[in-house]
Subunit: 224 residues, 2 copies
């Protein structure tokens, strides 16, 4: 990180800052995960070929993906893991920590609350909500379950912008509407429904049954 860093552009890159393909961004997270494992094994640099092999991508794909954001590599060497992880985190916006709300403390919500993997990647669940009064005040992984009705107030107090939505499907839409009204701008939706919300809002859906369905298809196909 000395003279070499000034020849490197920060985040609009040689591709003229045209919008980055969605597919590229989704691979960025995978790269980050692999590089972190790589580092834990004591390695300091990684080449596009090595990284690609870990994930089943071609080396060209890896290089082109990074090229969207700038020049991070060293010919003959590869990429320095430290620099690369910093760059990817900066691109993804996870170079700082995010405060997240959990909405819905059922089965799945409780598991999400206890999931260690979030903290490791810069996400902290700082409040949990439910609409069942018998749960109010109960403690969950060190947090007190708050009434969903208080969401707007607490979200404002704690500056919450992202939420994990883990309520039963029939309530997902109305609850989501409430989150939006309270200023949330990103929702990770675990309910198996398509939410209809303003486009200014970012929503990513995780439907576990759909993932299994896709697996079933792949399994059936593989029997040719």
């Amino acid at each position: 990180m000395d003279e070499s860093s000034e020849r490197r552009s920060k985040s609009s890159g040689p591709k003229g800052s045209g919008p980055v393909p969605k597919a590229v961004v989704s691979r960025l997270s995978l790269y980050l995960r692999e590089i972190q494992h790589w580092v834990r094994e004591g390695k300091e640099t990684i080449s596009s070929t090595q990284l690609g092999k870990l994930l089943g991508f071609t080396d060209a794909q890896v290089r082109k993906d990074f090229a969207y954001f700038g020049q991070f590599g060293y010919p003959g060497i590869g990429y320095r893991c430290g620099e690369l992880t910093a760059a990817i985190r900066s691109i993804l916006g996870t170079d700082r920590s995010w405060k997240v709300a959990l909405v819905g403390c059922g089965n799945l919500g409780q598991a999400l609350m206890g999931y260690r993997g979030f903290a490791d990647r810069g996400f902290e669940i700082v409040a949990a909500f439910d609409s069942d009064p018998t749960k109010f005040g109960r403690s969950l992984a060190g947090r007190t379950i708050e009434p969903l009705a208080d969401f707007a107030r607490i979200a404002a107090e704690r500056d919450l912008r992202m939420a994990l939505l883990a309520v039963p499907a029939p309530f997902a839409q109305e609850v989501a509407d409430g989150l939006v009204a309270a200023g949330v701008t990103g929702i990770l939706n675990f309910a198996p429904v398509t939410l209809s919300l303003p486009r200014t809002l970012q929503v990513i859906g995780v439907d576990l049954a759909i993932e299994l369905e896709q697996l079933a298809y792949a399994v059936v196909q593989s029997r040719s």
Copy 2:
């Protein structure tokens, strides 16, 4: 389902049975989900425009997706929901029920065991495994937790081919190797690692932290 059904091809379709794009298959699950909601509202047919609007796709995309598999629509009418759901389920392989093993009964595993959404879409968790002896014999959503060491025997007895892998990341690879040896052909991997397994094996990964990371990126970008 009378004379009209014989003009309809079953599953290789007009596209000459060339391999179906991955993107198409992933949308199939979404279509199925929406159609099921649509039916619950009492509707019997749905047009490509209606279905597309629900999911934010163009009507042409919807029609082309279905065209990969045959001719399901009726000009002037749209698609009959019953026929269409049957067709999609047949394509995905979920027209029959799948028996699935849960491997790893921690936080997340327990939530998966109790998740209602699987049964609704044709998946039944028929056995749960863990390697922690203090959990053996405990009951979880009506199933007894079995020792992971007995996996091969029980999988053979109950003809288990698919597994939900919800063990801690450091053990995921070795446990997965064991599943493969026991004849499993599809794994839904919740551990935040890339498994390296024979290509005959189908693996779909669900990394919750990565989904949040993608959401963070989208949120940051949307602030232009």
